[in-house]
Amino acid sequence: MRDLFQYVPGTSLLHRLNPVTKLLLTVVICVAAFITDRLIFLLGLLALDLLIGFIAGVPKKTVNILKGLLRIALFLFILQALLTRKGTPVFWIVTDTGLLTAGKVVLRLMVVCMPLALVLAVTKINDLANALVQVLHVPYPYAFTITTAIRFIPQFLSEMDDIMEAQTARGVEFDAAKGFRKLGMILPLCAPLLISSVRRSEQTAVAAEVRGFHLRTAVSGYKQYPFQWIDLGAVLFCCALIAAAILL
């Protein structure tokens, strides 16, 4: 969880792609997942996600993301299977249509979520923001907001740890509690976390301003993000993927 959105350095094909191309690939996979209505195609897309993860040289992370998603998927699957009323019953109140719909829903969820996490694993968040501003001319304050939000996640988690440690030192038994009881203990920590994060974001705003936040424009970036041949290849692949989703 801690390093879910953390960049993993590397020189793989995916690391070398233009950040914008990577985003395009992500979007295309999502779109393809919603265009198609075939279970087998969705399974194929999931396999593609995994393949991307392995090519990017982050197999462990890919598997971890998948494991995390599976837990949510299982919950959704059961809910969906129980709630669908159409089709012939297979056992109890679960129908064949229900199982199929549920399968598609959770597969879509997994297919859509994985590439987003993977993009962040193979792209420095700054490169992503810079490329968005330079190439797509996204206004810088928006790019800054997104990057800062993602960058704050690990900071929040470590701050949460600090607060919990401080409470543990004063006799709160976090380690002994499980499930809902533990949740009940954690909820009151949200107030101090919120206060400290508001204070922190104010400080970050000042820090950004005194280093020329308001002067930044689309041409401010020192690093350039030119499109290369591999990007063209990736774009062609994206077109093929969309075509396949429509045709199959």
Partner: protein, 279 residues
């Protein structure tokens, strides 16, 4: 370079002023150290010099602060920050990027430093702070001290006319602290950068700063050349400000021997003094 006239500032919703009646002049190319007990208003003073007060922290503001002739109230913070580089006390909240190199690039890019000049500025800052090996590391993987150095490097890369630092060695070990102060002194000498630094490590401050200002309860209780301020080390101690041990030594010696001795601020001076007395 910095001219503060009768500055009184009260943070919004606070009953007592954080600074009251501060007047302070820092000449171009000076190295000023600010000391004082906790809650004396050191950070507030630093914020006022950098323009963060009144642009970000609101409250009752009387008097004036001028930096290179610009009134900090009338000048936008962005314009002021071209002139004044600031290193904050809280290291984590001032880092904007997720990789060391990007953090240094941020200000350089924004202030429009020419493309061909950027690599040399980057290397200069990284080398002088001693973190060239950290260039491609992610911020999350760095220790507190390393992050502090990154924060300092990112401001030094901008080559401001004035450097303002709030406890820049708070998370550093003694050796790195000395290294940072040596660097500040070198920048001060070589490039004529005016340095204003709040620091608790009094020994370092006295060794490197030409001028000292002692704050207590929002007022400047003593200011002047380092040596002159240290001459009244007994008064400083009454305020809760530690004095360097060598200064203490000279004071105790002069009391014990019943004659006035010159104040020593470094070990070398103290050694010379003691050797002279022994003969």
């Amino acid at each position: 370079m910095i001219d503060i006239q009768d500055l009184t500032f009260t943070y919004k919703d606070e009953p007592a002023p954080a600074l009251s009646g501060i007047s302070l002049t820092v000449t171009d190319g000076a190295f000023l150290g600010i000391i004082g007990p906790a809650g004396a208003g050191k950070t507030t003073l630093i914020r006022a010099v950098s323009g963060v007060i009144p642009h970000h922290y609101t409250g009752d503001y009387y008097g004036s602060v001028r930096v290179n002739g610009l009134d900090t109230v009338d000048t936008p913070l962005t314009d002021l920050s071209r002139l004044v580089g600031m290193v904050f006390q809280d290291v984590d909240s001032q880092i904007i990027s997720s990789v060391v190199e990007d953090e240094l690039l941020y200000g350089l890019e924004n202030f429009g430093v020419p493309r061909e000049e950027i690599p040399s500025r980057l290397e200069f800052a990284l080398d002088r702070v001693g973190i060239a090996d950290l260039r491609d590391r992610t911020i999350a993987s760095l220790s507190g001290g390393q992050r502090q150095k990154v924060a300092i490097a990112s401001v030094i890369a901008l080559r401001p006319r004035v450097l303002v630092l709030d406890e820049p060695t708070g998370e550093l070990d003694p050796r790195s602290s000395r290294q940072i102060f040596s660097l500040l002194k070198a920048l001060n000498r070589e490039y004529g950068i005016t340095v204003v630094v709040v620091e608790q490590k009094i020994m370092l401050l006295c060794e490197f700063a030409d001028m000292l200002a002692v704050l207590d309860q929002g007022k400047i209780v003593r200011q002047g050349k380092t040596r002159e301020v240290l001459a009244r080390s007994d008064e400083l101690e009454a305020l809760g400000v530690n004095c360097p041990r060598v200064t203490l030594l000279t004071r105790l010696l002069s009391e014990r021997l019943g004659k006035s001795l010159p104040v020593s601020v470094s070990l070398d001076e103290a050694e010379k003094l003691v050797r002279g007395l022994m003969q």
